[in-house]
């Protein structure tokens, strides 16, 4: 028994939320021949890498080529500490954690792709941010990470998570869907609400293009990691309140894929369109190519 779609995952859960991580690790046992203990040990190791990347840039700004997003995480944290923020300290904390992941990635630091390197700030920010609120055991957090992985696997299987194929909606959109499902599950959502949370997160960013300035994974990537993490939380809240997307999650995933395929090449990670095509972005690219040290 396995699952290739969200609908199949739901059926396997038999209406019981606690079944969801089980269905996902049982599939992993069949697929990779690893034991449950080995799978949880690996999850714990990856979660540790995620946590480090979510916190590292909150201690010091990370140096990177061009430095376009250097110090973003600390700036957000400082603002939240001094003024609380319009969206509150929790949302500001989540954004700072996500910005840290992006900053570490851009600086050639160690990250865990989730599902990609460019979107690696989102899942850690949501899980670490929620864990800080307290109330969940370590095992529960790893179960939530499994739920995120299961949702990501379904999207990879039936659509794409590559920006070059489907734009940013496929990268940061999928990361937000994974994190939304994990958050809804942590808050005791039904399997259906977990699926709806993922679908709502994708709905929020459908059509989002991938337009990295100078081809660097910096701008606008870090902003889309911050907004992706917030997207995950509000999507989970909407689903937990009983708001239904109206379209089944698998169809929303399919729609995301079809929209991605219709995006022109310029808006799929080629740095030829969107923000990347504006004069300021072109000037940054020109400067970058004039200052290479390794060639």
């Amino acid at each position: 028994m396995g699952y290739d779609t969200i609908a199949q995952l739901m059926v396997q859960c038999e209406g019981r939320p606690e079944r969801m991580p089980q269905v996902i690790y049982e599939n992993e046992i069949r697929l990779t021949d690893r034991t449950k203990t080995e799978i949880y040990a690996e999850l714990e190791a990856r979660y540790a890498v995620m946590r480090l990347s979510a916190e590292k840039a909150l201690r010091e700004p990370q140096k990177m080529v061009c430095g376009l997003i250097e110090g973003q995480a600390m700036r957000q944290q400082k603002y939240a500490a001094e003024r609380g923020g319009i969206s509150g300290t929790f949302f500001n904390r989540i954004m700072a954690l996500a910005l840290s992941g992006s900053e570490v990635n851009a600086s050639m630091g160690r990250i865990c792709a989730a599902p990609t390197a460019g979107s690696c700030g989102i899942v850690p920010a949501v899980l670490v941010g929620l864990e800080e609120q307290g109330g969940w055991s370590k095992e529960k957090m790893l179960d939530a990470l499994l739920v995120a992985g299961g949702i990501g696997a379904v999207i990879t299987k039936n659509a794409t998570v590559a920006g070059a194929e489907g734009g940013c909606q496929a990268e940061c959109g999928t990361a937000a869907a994974m994190a939304a499902g994990a958050a809804a599950w942590l808050f005791g959502g039904t399997p259906e609400q977990v699926g709806d949370a993922a679908a709502i997160a994708l709905i929020h960013v459908m059509g989002l293009v991938c337009d990295p300035v100078a081809g660097l994974v910096q701008l606008p990537c870090s902003f889309r990691n911050a907004s992706g993490a917030v997207n995950a939380l509000i999507s989970a809240d909407l689903a937990l309140a009983g708001q239904m997307p109206g379209i089944p999650p698998d169809e929303v995933i399919n729609a995301m894929y079809r929209v991605g395929r219709k995006l022109p090449m310029e808006l799929r990670e080629t740095a030829l369109g969107g923000m990347a095509a504006e004069p300021t972005a072109r000037a940054i690219a020109k400067k970058l190519f004039a200052t290479d040290e390794t060639t």
């Binding site: 396995g2 699952y3 290739d4 996902i24 599939n27 992993e28 697929l31 990779t32 690996e42 999850l43 190791a45 990856r46 890498v49 080529v65 061009c66 570490v104 990635n105 851009a106 600086s107 050639m108 630091g109 160690r110 990250i111 865990c112 792709a113 989730a114 599902p115 990609t116 390197a117 460019g118 690696c120 899942v123 990470l145 499994l146 995120a148 992985g149 299961g150 990501g152 696997a153 379904v154 990879t156 299987k157 998570v161 590559a162 070059a164 994974m178 100078a214 081809g215 660097l216 994974v217 910096q218 740095a271 970058l288 190519f289 290479d292 040290e293 390794t294 060639t295």
Partner: protein, 220 residues
């Protein structure tokens, strides 16, 4: 579901790009393992997107890091040029047009301490996955997802079965085996993906077989 959650929640890697940084490092590390000789200098010829956008993704540092044996999650990757200099290893980058090649292709030339050169071509497929496609003119397919044995042998009857007999005796299960050759009866290559790691003594036994020239073992 035939996709592992660890493909989704991973790889653990040095940023910023799974194809242009992590994949580049793994490709170079695999190429150096296939070359399997100490070298003084390495030439990287970059094509496609690697040549155009590699700069901002640290592709050069990642390639150099892989060539000197660093893994794709090693934080020293960003200072690979300094590490290579400390080991007296020289390098050069250039652009190359490779018609019909994958977008992110690199041609490596290792200038070895024994005066020989080894040329290896491969590409970064995305998500950190790689494929080595050419070893000194011999077409091949090496993904390095599993422990892999690369054998160069004479194209003679019985050589392949002798190789598989040695592995069977050592309890090493063959996942995939691909045999290729330049021309009938001449040099042949054999790529064997195994389920478990291959100890050095097994490689030595393979190397001692008749008509076997070289045996290289690549960790998965």
């Amino acid at each position: 579901m035939n996709i592992s959650i660890f493909e989704i929640l991973g790889p653990v890697m040095i940023g910023p790009s799974s194809s242009h940084t992590a994949g580049a490092a793994k490709l170079a590390r695999t190429a150096a393992a296939i070359a399997a000789k100490p070298f003084l200098r390495v030439r990287f010829e970059l094509s496609g997107s690697f040549a155009k956008t590699g700069l901002g993704h640290g592709t050069h540092q990642a390639l150099l890091a892989g060539a000197i044996g660093l893994h794709e999650d090693d934080e020293r990757l960003r200072v690979a040029d300094k590490l290579a200099k400390a080991q007296d290893i020289d390098w050069e980058f250039s652009e190359i047009e490779l018609p019909d090649a994958h977008e992110n292709t690199v041609a490596f030339t290792f200038f070895c301490t024994d005066g020989t050169q080894v040329r290896i071509v491969g590409c970064s497929l995305g998500g950190g996955r790689i494929l080595v496609t050419d070893i000194d003119g011999m077409k091949t397919e090496i993904s390095a997802e599993q422990p892999t044995i690369v054998v160069e042998q004479n194209d003679k009857p019985g050589v392949v079965s002798a190789i598989s007999r040695v592995l069977a005796e050592q309890g090493i299960n063959i996942g995939v085996m691909r045999v290729s050759r330049t021309a009938k009866g001449e040099a042949a290559g054999c790529v064997i993906e195994t389920d478990t790691t291959v100890p050095p003594e097994v490689a030595a036994r393979l190397c001692a077989l008749d008509n076997v020239h070289t045996v290289r073992v690549i960790e998965g």
